[in-house]
Amino acid sequence: MSRSLSFAQALDEAIAEEMRRDPKVIALGTEFTGKLVQQFGPQRARLTPISEAAFTGMGLGAAACGYRPIVNWRSVTFSFVAMDQIVNQASKIRYMLGGQADFPVTFRCTSGGGLGLAAQHSQSPYSIWMHLAGLKIILPSNPADAKGLLKSAIRDDNPVVSFECVRLNDAIAAVPEGDHLVPLGVAAIKRSGTDVSVVALGYYVQEALAVAQALARRGISVEVVDPRTLVPLDVSTIRDSVRKTGRLVVVDEAPPTCSAAAEITALVVEDAATFRALRAPVERVCGIGVPIPYSPPLERAALPDRERIEAAILRVLHEPASGSTRS
């Protein structure tokens, strides 16, 4: 049984269900979606001042004392104000303290461009968090995964960062009824294929699927892998796919340098069996390495689109025969 929900509704439902399920789950943020304050009262759903560093650290501190806070930074942009608490405290505290306590805190934020919000408010910096050891990271691509991953994140005994693509906010799709959970660390093959593997992140999963469908009509079989969780990353599913297809395109809107796409590429080529199976250079279809511009035509040019995804797929397929690859 399932019903249709928007991405935003699915996330709200996850929060409400977990707050109902466990009285230790509390919420902190400068604004809430859904009816959190009405449903759970101002003690458990705490509207905070615009003090991200303080309430991020408070989430961590309350987690150390038996609570399971959900801290909402809103745009990931605002988390940079709280970066000390994330980098120097949350990502290291359990290890530094020799594992003497758990810190079950969930940090939520929105990410991504495409809404004309310009550079500061159009960031996709998950790789910054991935680089740290000690934070789990989810990046759902549809309402069902959003709900299931966020619920798992809240129940996880570790700090988890949930990146929620702004462009998916209104996306509507089926979400299973009941206590729908998606485990952390398990990728989903959203479409199977044999000619090329496309690992796509967040919003770009649907775009990759659309391209795959279009290419299917031309006899090209594209496998679309959605990692869903960036830490821990399900590298074996990705490598298996590449070992099968021999070709890899990674699609994400973050700029390429030191990105998740760079990591996925490196993980594939440093594994001997996968490296041997690889029959073409890896293609990264990423955001262009500039701050995201405001003007719509420039913003469109800065972000990946179906055309660029398709072109990259065709390039890796024709390599080396057609000589059409970049060099």
């Binding site: 001042p49 511009p293 719509p296 035509p297 420039l298």
Partner: protein, 359 residues
């Protein structure tokens, strides 16, 4: 008395100071001020429709209702003085002397915009008039303004810097750090808090126990004053005192301007957000319209006639029409603009250097 009164520390400006070309007007000319307030209002009322119509993208934060603050403060500044602004920045831009044509072109995402269409509403800047930029980060502009004040202090040319920010920004760490360091170093900086009683959609008591912002300055040994932010002349007086003080090398001060925004916090899509504030509160503040207040004072003093006022209104409407026409006529930036402006010319572009792009 922990909270310094700016009035009490305002010595009469020295003769040398008066002669300096950098000095602000001792007595402001209220007619241009009124005209600027009308222009700001017209500009920001019009952008609501333009956003709804899809001519403007992303987020807009209208300044309507708060015009007396930007105009009163900037009337105490010279062009060489510098300001930093916020997400709600159009009023500060206009008051500091930016050209509404290029502002509008920026909002339209066009090449003739101040930022060539790359910045949009939250990043409009005009360095040529000392407007160092709107800012999408609450309290993010304060350290930048302190940097400008540091530069002014080192230059020794009696320039000052002003940072505008909201009541919500007072809860941020950057507010505290900037007040502390600028007080410590006696930087020529004026902190202008526009206390419009809400931070985003949250009432001020979600931010602060002490909703009196001016009281915060005492802890830094900084004079502060809380004033009616809807009274342009009162804002000017307080700003002049603070600016004089800064110019004389006597350090920073804080001005809390109590005001109110007439519209929604922001508009992110084509629909106009529903009002969530109490309607009585809104009505009370609309009754304290800063423009009507200055206009009626000028009318009663006969500095202005009803016809003059009507002409002014017509004029600003025409100016905004012109700005819109200018923006519409300006082309969108071409694809080549995408890779420009990341770095000053002195360098190669990293994206090109690392070769990861399709271009």
């Amino acid at each position: 008395m922990p909270i310094g009164k700016l009035e009490s520390i305002t010595a009469p400006a020295r003769a040398t100071a008066r002669e300096s070309p950098l000095m602000p007007r001792e007595v402001p000319d209220p007619l241009p001020m009124l005209r600027q307030m009308l222009l700001i209002r017209e500009f920001d009322e019009r952008i609501i429709g333009l956003r709804a119509g899809g001519d403007i993208y992303g987020a807009i934060h209208p300044y309507v209702g708060q015009e007396a603050v930007a105009v009163g403060v900037c009337a105490a500044l010279t062009r060489a003085d510098r300001v930093t602004s916020t997400h709600r920045g159009h009023g500060h831009c206009i008051a500091k002397g930016a050209d509404i044509k290029r502002m509008m072109a920026e909002l339209f995402g066009r090449i003739d915009g101040y930022c060539k269409g790359k910045g949009g509403s939250m990043h409009i800047a005009d360095f040529s008039v000392g407007m160092l930029g709107a800012n999408g980060i609450v309290a993010g502009g304060l350290p930048l303004a302190a940097g400008a004040a540091l530069a002014a202090q080192l230059d020794g040319k009696r320039q000052v810097a002003v940072c505008f920010f909201g009541d919500g920004a007072v809860a941020e760490g950057e507010f505290h750090e900037t007040l502390n360091i600028s007080a410590l170093w006696s930087l020529p900086l004026v902190f202008v808090c526009e206390n419009n009683l809400y931070g985003g959609s949250s009432p001020i008591d979600v931010q602060h126990r002490t909703t009196d912002i001016a009281v915060r300055a005492a802890g830094y040994g900084m004079p502060a004053v809380s004033i009616d932010g809807n009274d342009a002349m009162a804002v000017f007086e307080a700003a002049r005192a603070a600016v004089d003080r800064a110019r004389e090398g006597d350090g920073p001060s804080l001005i809390e301007c109590r005001t109110y925004r007439w519209h929604f916090h922001n508009m992110l899509r084509a629909t106009i957000p529903a009002e969530t504030r109490p309607s009585t509160e809104l009505a009370a503040w609309r009754a304290r319209d800063p423009i009507a207040r200055l206009a009626s004072a000028l009318l009663s003093r006969r500095t202005l006639t009803e016809e003059g006022l009507t002409a002014m209104r017509m004029q600003v409407r025409g100016d905004v029409d012109e700005a819109i026409a200018f923006a519409q006529a300006s082309p969108f930036p071409g694809r080549e603009a995408l890779l420009e402006d990341v770095f000053a010319a002195s360098c190669c572009h990293p994206a090109r250097a690392c070769g990861t792009h399709d271009e």
